[in-house]
Amino acid sequence: MIAYVLRRIASLVVVMALVAMAVFLLLRLAPGDPTAIIAGDNATPVQIASVRARLGLDDPLPQQFYRWATALLSGDLGVSIFSNTPVAELIGQRIEPTLSLAFATLLFAVPVAVLLGILAAWSAGGVADRLAMAISVAGFSLPGFVVGYFLVYVFAIRLKWLPVQGYTPISQDVASWASHLILPALTLGLAFIALIARMTRTALLDVLAEDYIRTANAKGVSTLSLLLKHALRNAGVPIVTILGIGAAMLIGGVVVTETVFNIPGIGRLVVDAILKRDYPIIQGVILVASGVYVVINLLVDLSYTLIDPRIRS
């Protein structure tokens, strides 16, 4: 087990290195750079060239990459070209809203989705199953911003129960922090419920057809115990997989929801940076996000061993 974990950590380093190279190259090869934006409308060609030289953008690509990579190895993600703020500081400022939104979404979506999936599988073909799957289809089909605007209209503007937008740090006011997360979590959660409920239903249906389930039923095991203790645990691997993918996506930043609800998270940070070609921010955020994906994948793989003892061996 330890050897397995160490191998996975080693692969994390390789993956991060490949991501770093890919992101660096893609940015440099894409049209446009920040020079013209920085130099401004009144800049002469000499001034534009001077800005490009000062930013090191006219150096050969391997040299630029070496400079960035060596700084990275010492933990320096660089400084925003436009705001002069360290990238690590910007990510640090934005990570709390993103993590809060991810936490709130999963807190809401996972129990609802799993229950919905269980219900659908247990009553397969019945009314409850069709209702659950209809909700699932709606969750997939409705664009996030439509759901968001609708929730804002009903709960913020008409009922005035919740705020329209914004984010309050948890350290400032817990109640305000929570109230600002409800609507965005509901918006994002709908899509996750759709995904997780379907996966739960499918995985459970496979398990419920197994002989040991029929045996447990014949032995008089209660429905609840049958579903939760016998069936769900055996269906856990694909469900945990999709949960891991979903969590990684949330932490990577969900731009549309962050934009609709004005949550200053990682997603908006990187989109803003892309539009103005702020290379250090783009590189830093993508690197951090890819690291998060890899770590979460590792945790998901390790969780399999907890769910299914056969995998442990």
């Binding site: 013209a36 534009i48 705001s83 005035k160 937008q165 914004g166 803003d272």
Partner: protein
């Protein structure tokens, strides 16, 4: 003695009653009634208003810095930080003395040395400053409050330059910040203006906080645009970066924000119907949509091809598609824009005839157009430009021109428009811009007016007569400028450095309890003078 139920309850009540006092003592945030939350036109990405000409950074500059002169609502420069000033009889030496009691937000005095250093840094980056400083032989500090500007020839526009309200403005910084290389950003923001930038409370990308500057000494006159008394009547101004317009509208209606600089035109009706919200145009002359032409390569290296576009463009159609609400747009044939002092109708026969596709087609043929692709840069993330360029491309195709749209984001357009290579090698033929009508009416205020060929703004038009007339305009007294402007326009619509696609304004919206919002014919929102009832 043990705790009794009554004692326990009494302790609990005391705790509850005592709590608000403790909270008040801990709170350093101004109350909601003393705070204004605003959603501005974009995110504040840079805090150096000299390093970048971005409008939002100019607004930021106006919050924390003051200027030597400021334009009033008639766009006339008035002394602001300057108390007394004068010019020598030969009009070559200007002397400026600062008002008493001017201090930076850190409590230090504003001195003449700060002003001279700020002026020099600004002049490197600003087109107006560059033009002026080409005629400056010396700037000297005479004493703590007095400095001079010595010229090699009279320059009547000096006060207009000092008081310009389009970015970069001549903001007065401390000498140590002002001595920063103009191509690099300053890192400290100690200002001379009515507000202090609260870096501690600011969260980049989310919210930017300004607190009233206790050390600021406003003038005694009433506020008028960038002139007069800049009284900060609120304790705190917060700029919230709300990227989604619909969300900002909802937040305004819900009272979560107090001011929205540029609500989308299609949602203005909704805001106008809300009795808790006021909707007004603050900049009555607005902006003009330019289609800038590349004069280096065919077909637009030929004047007839450029003239063809004057007859091709239907401004009414562009504005109807791009803006929609006719309350907020007008067509205009003046080179200087409409509703501005230099507006005139010299050489505007094309405007009266347009659209005239037959004439446009004929002119293109006379230009010897050979069917090559005409590359039009189309920024898809700017709705007005996106629409205008699509219409232009379609009209060109209708007269037989092989128009091709190069779709991208605005950042790519900015990068590509600087490329001087042939269009088929990464260059371009046409790109859009929106120029403030006040800037367009000032031949020195906007770099796009120069026709100096390779040294001109993107498009690189070259016309000696235009430059001679510009120079003449710059040297003339105010009362003589309109006559020169007519000559300039007559010549400009002959050699056609760019074409106009319509003039438009955008209203701002704010809560009805917000008072004192200043009107200004520039892209600037002054937050002094504003209060909440």
């Amino acid at each position: 003695m043990g705790t009794t139920r009554r004692g326990f309850l009494q302790a609990g009540v005391a705790t509850i009653l005592g709590k608000p006092a403790m909270v008040a003592a801990q709170s350093s945030q101004p109350s909601r009634t003393r705070t204004l939350r605003a959603v501005m036109q974009g995110d504040l990405r840079s805090f150096d208003p000299i390093w970048t000409s971005a409008s939002i950074t100019s607004y930021h500059g106006a919050m924390i810095y003051d200027t030597l002169f400021g334009v009033n609502e008639d766009m006339k420069p008035q002394p602001q930080m300057v108390g007394k000033y004068g010019v020598s009889d030969d009009k070559l030496t200007w002397t400026f003395e600062l008002r008493d009691g001017l201090r930076f937000s850190d409590g230090t005095d504003v001195t003449a040395a700060d002003c001279v250093a700020s002026m020099r840094r600004w002049a490197v980056r600003d087109g107006f400053g560059q033009h002026m400083f080409a005629r400056v032989t010396d700037t000297a500090v005479k004493d703590a409050k007095t400095f001079t500007v010595v010229l090699r020839e009279p320059y009547p526009l000096i006060l207009d330059a000092f008081g310009k309200a389009g970015g970069p403005l001549l903001y007065i910084m401390r000498k140590k910040e002002a001595e920063t290389d103009p191509m690099q950003q300053i890192t400290a923001y100690v200002g001379s203006g009515p507000f202090v930038f609260n870096m501690q409370e600011t969260k980049q990308g989310a919210s930017y906080v300004y607190d009233r500057n206790q050390n600021y000494k406003p003038r005694s006159e009433p506020a008028s645009a960038m002139a007069g008394g800049k009284m900060a009547k609120l304790d705190r101004i917060i700029w919230d970066n709300v990227a989604d317009d619909q969300t900002a509208v909802a937040a305004l209606q819900n009272g979560e924000i107090d001011f929205f600089e540029l609500p989308p035109i299609d949602l203005v009706d909704q805001l106008e119907a809300d009795k808790n919200i006021r909707v007004e145009v603050l900049n009555s002359t607005g902006q003009t949509i330019w289609a800038r032409l590349n004069s280096l390569y065919p077909p637009f290296d030929n004047v007839k091809a450029r003239q063809a576009l004057l007859y091709l463009i239907n401004q009414q159609d562009v504005l109807r598609a791009a803006i929609g609400n006719e309350k907020y747009y007008r067509t205009c044939g003046s080179y200087f824009g409409c509703g501005v002092p230099m507006e005139n109708d010299e050489n505007t026969q094309w405007f009266k005839e347009a659209p005239n596709k037959a004439k446009a087609k004929q002119l293109f043929q006379e230009a010897g157009y050979d069917g090559r692709p005409v590359i039009i840069l189309q920024p898809t993330n700017f709705a007005v430009f996106n629409t205008a360029m699509q219409l232009l491309a379609q009209w060109l195709r209708e007269i037989g021109v092989n128009a091709q749209l190069a779709s991208s984001d605005w950042g790519s357009v900015i990068s590509r428009r600087a490329v001087k290579e042939p269009p088929e090698k990464g260059g371009w033929h046409v790109f859009p811009a929106a120029i403030l009508s006040e800037a367009a009416s000032n031949l020195m205020g906007f770099v796009g007016h120069a026709a100096t060929g390779a040294n001109a703004w993107f498009g690189w038009p070259n016309n000696e007569r235009h430059e001679q007339l510009r120079d003449k305009w710059a040297k003339s007294e105010p009362e003589g400028r309109l006559a020169i402007a007519k000559e300039i326009q007559k010549n400009a619509w002959d050699f056609v450095p760019h074409v106009y696609m319509g003039q438009y304004t955008r209203p701002s919206a704010w809560r009805a309890n917000v008072r004192g919002v200043l009107h200004m014919r520039e892209l600037m929102i002054p937050f002094w003078n504003i209060e909440k009832t």
